[in-house]
């Protein structure tokens, strides 16, 4: 176990719902299922308006290699296929399904036949699973690697964001499925070393998996300090196997694969029962929510139904988030649906919603001291305001994972993450410009060369 760990911030835990087993919400009336709930090509609808669907039925197939199929979480009727503005501002096609409330499961739902690595990958692809911890990268693509290169598979149960306890519930309520997943990784990926990384604020989870590890070779639990962003991929890799993923490389380049624990449980569920990814356990919490709890809801359930299932609001919500408060995305209305990678929906009251007023940077260096990747946010902000992309390049702003530690600790309440995002865009533009200039120069040289050759002849 490496002693050196990445820096981070001591964020409040607020795991109010950790002890609450997830409750299934009443069947929502309508699902809105966007075709882009993952990184990569949008899925292609395979159902038509008016068509009847059942729980577990394929409604959209993968739209390319880096893509994932989508299944219905309710039985009912497809009413239309239209467009939806998603939280990043882009417009994507979306299937709307009116449920009949029956939750009739598709009859020919059978477990896939998995015998080796290839068929396992095929099953992962058909399960519709993407990185459920938040990233949304299609898991089958992540697992398609040269198995020789894999030194360790790290199961991410860190769950370092405040409030969120849905992975905690996965580890406690679906322990068997997580463990079945671990055994599948050993069987089909010949994983020599599997590490289950859990923050030490979840002693129950640690104890449960420690017990299971006693009987199995090659699986260990890493109890990690509760230090945000412990569950960040690069952070988790460094803190468990001590390796740094270099710029522009993937975890597999240092011999690691990181899988979220719910991702793994869902893969196991599909391979055992044939039921693909159709619903999620979601933490509903925040200062505006009447009864915070964990709920199980079909993917595509509008947020308003989630809150209704939790007794509505105790005060008027002024900010609603997908995900936790450190990296979550604020949404403009409650029509936004549950996505595959939604693990929490939080609603905050007036007091918590207002972003603080920034004051002058006092150069205290806290942002620098807390950055897991040892970036220098204060210097990045300066370079950005002076419009110096060459400095941004040197400061490696492109490495920033936008975890939010710098903004969180800043006593002047400066919007450092926002500046980092904008700085990345500035740097990309600058790099593109450099590339274009370089190409223009080459083309010119080539033309000159040809001219000279023509003249010589």
């Amino acid at each position: 176990m490496p002693i050196k760990r990445m820096n981070g911030a001591h964020v409040p835990h607020r795991k109010n719902t950790a002890e609450m087993a997830a409750v299934r919400i009443p069947v929502p009336q309508q699902l809105v299922i966007p075709m882009s709930m993952h990184i990569g090509a949008p899925a292609k609808p395979v159902v038509k308006p008016g068509e009847d669907v059942k729980v577990g039925q394929l409604i959209a197939e993968a739209g390319g290699f880096v893509s994932a199929p989508i299944y219905s979480g309710v039985s009912g009727k497809v009413i239309k296929i239209d467009e939806l503005v998603v939280s990043n501002g882009s417009t994507v096609p979306a299937i709307r399904i009116n449920s009949d409330g029956e939750q009739t499961v598709l009859e020919d739902l059978t477990p896939p036949t998995v015998t080796d690595y290839e068929s396992f990958l095929e099953a992962v692809r058909n399960s519709g699973v993407v990185g459920l911890g938040g990233a949304g990268f299609p898991t089958s693509v992540k697992l398609k690697v040269d198995l020789e290169k894999v030194d360790a598979i790290i199961i991410n149960g860190a769950e370092c964001e405040p409030y969120i306890t849905s992975d905690t519930r996965t580890m406690l309520d679906r322990t068997d499925e997580v463990w079945a997943g671990v055994e599948m990784l050993q069987k089909y990926l010949q994983a020599k070393r599997i590490i289950i990384g859990i923050e030490d604020n979840k002693p129950q989870c640690i104890a449960k998996f420690n017990e299971l590890c006693k009987t199995t070779q090659g699986v260990e639990v890493a109890a990690l300090p509760s230090m945000y962003p412990q569950g960040g991929e690069k952070v988790l890799i460094f803190n468990t196997i001590g390796k740094i993923v270099p710029e522009g490389k993937l975890p597999i380049d240092v011999g690691a694969i990181v899988l979220n624990c719910t991702t793994l449980a869902t893969i196991a569920q599909y391979i055992q029962t044939g039921m693909p990814l159709v619903e999620k356990c979601i933490t509903i919490d925040g200062s505006a929510v009447a009864n915070p709890q964990n709920v199980i809801a079909p993917i595509g359930t509008p947020m308003k139904d989630l809150f209704e299932a939790c007794g509505g609001f105790k005060t008027e919500p002024r900010k609603v988030l997908y995900g936790g408060p450190m990296m979550g995305i604020a949404v403009p209305d409650l029509e936004n649906p549950v996505l595959k990678n939604t693990n929490a929906v939080l609603a905050f009251d007036e007091k918590d919603a207002k972003p603080p007023e920034p004051t002058a940077c006092i150069k205290c260096g806290r942002c620098i001291a807390h950055c897991p990747l040892k970036l220098m946010p204060a210097d990045i902000e300066k370079a950005f305001s002076l419009e110096r992309p060459e400095d941004l390049k040197e400061l490696k702003v492109n490495l920033c994972m936008e975890c939010g530690c710098c903004s969180f600790v800043c006593p002047a309440k400066r919007p450092l993450v926002q500046v980092n995002k904008l700085s990345k865009a500035m740097l990309n533009k600058y790099n593109a410009q450099l590339k274009a200039e370089e190409e223009a120069r080459k083309a010119k040289e080539e033309a000159k060369k040809k001219e000279e050759e023509a003249a010589n002849e």
Partner: protein
């Protein structure tokens, strides 16, 4: 329902803000205030109050005139005023103290853009300007009244001037020096109080140990090398006040730990060189100001290497 705030993450912030940090510095300075009053009598408190009040006034007035937002609420001007007063002796004429506050706040801080933007430490620069402008009153030391309660205007000398004049026999004992019963500026004599305040700041994570430890250790080691009594050298003059409260000023010192160590070593080195070869018996102020000027370069040399970055 359509009045939801959409803002960028993170959506929670740490409780600490600029005011809280400055309040911690003021709390850390309370033992020093108490020590100064015990050692030099009630006029110490008057000098301190005048400096704090005039710094707050100049900050407020300048921002009013320039139509800038009022920042006296962040308490940074109060910290500057208090530290400036600690650099003066108890007999300083009050108008000179007010002049010093003007230099610190208006010339050194506000003209460069206000909090966080000044490159030189306001209190130190003001002290140096005063030392040149009022060399008489700035180098007239009052003997601690705690020693001579009856006569409160006995003129004494600081241990460093005694050393400079080779009057080693008059030196106070080490115990007296540690408790601050020696001639000197208001806030620099009582090492015990400064140590309590400094440890409080480190415990509260307002400052890190790097600069003070590097500073004090450098003075200690170099004094030893140059044949001085190292304990006397660190206990007399402004080493502790400078190391814990002035060489750790955020705006004018490096913000990486590596940079802070270099800064501390530089301060210690210049302090000892001035004490040994300079015309002034004391060199802490000059050393910090000189290192302030070097800070941008130290920052450049000690930039963090991002994890995973490739050239």
């Amino acid at each position: 329902m359509n009045n939801l705030v959409v803002s960028i993450s993170p959506h929670i912030r740490d409780r600490a803000d600029t005011t809280l940090i400055m309040r911690d510095v003021l709390i850390a300075l309370v033992p020093v205030i108490i020590a100064s009053v015990v050692i030099f009598g009630p006029r110490a408190l008057l000098v301190e109050a005048v400096c704090v009040a005039s710094c707050l006034f100049f900050e407020w007035g300048f921002e009013k005139i320039c139509k800038r937002p009022n920042t006296i609420g962040d308490l940074s001007a109060a910290v500057t005023g208090l530290i400036l007063s600690f650099n003066l002796n108890v007999g300083i004429p009050l108008w000179q103290a007010i002049f010093g506050s003007f230099i610190a706040i208006v010339l050194v801080k506000q003209l460069f853009g206000g909090i966080g933007k000044n490159f030189a430490n306001p209190a130190i620069t003001a002290r140096i300007v005063m030392l040149l402008a009022f060399s008489g009153t700035m180098t007239t030391w009052n003997t601690p009244t705690i020693l001579h309660p009856a006569a409160d205007a006995v003129t004494g000398a600081t241990p460093l001037t005694m050393i400079a004049k080779d009057e080693l026999a008059n030196l106070p004992s080490l115990g007296e020096m540690f408790l601050g019963i020696q001639g000197g500026c208001l806030g620099e004599t009582c090492t015990l109080a400064l140590l309590i305040g400094g440890i409080y700041l480190i415990a509260r994570k307002v400052i890190t140990w790097h600069t003070p430890v590097a500073f004090i250790a450098t003075v200690f080691v170099l004094s030893l090398i140059f044949g001085q009594d190292p304990v006397v050298q660190i206990l007399s003059g402004g080493v502790f006040l400078g190391a814990f409260f002035m060489a750790t000023d955020y705006a004018t010192t490096p913000s990486t730990n590596k940079g802070r160590i270099i800064f501390g070593i530089g301060c210690g080195l210049i302090t000892v060189l001035i004490r040994i070869w300079g015309n002034y018996p004391e060199g802490v102020s000059f050393s910090i100001l000189l290192m302030n000027i070097l800070t941008p370069f130290i920052i450049k040399w000690t930039r963090n290497k991002p994890l995973g970055g490739v050239e």
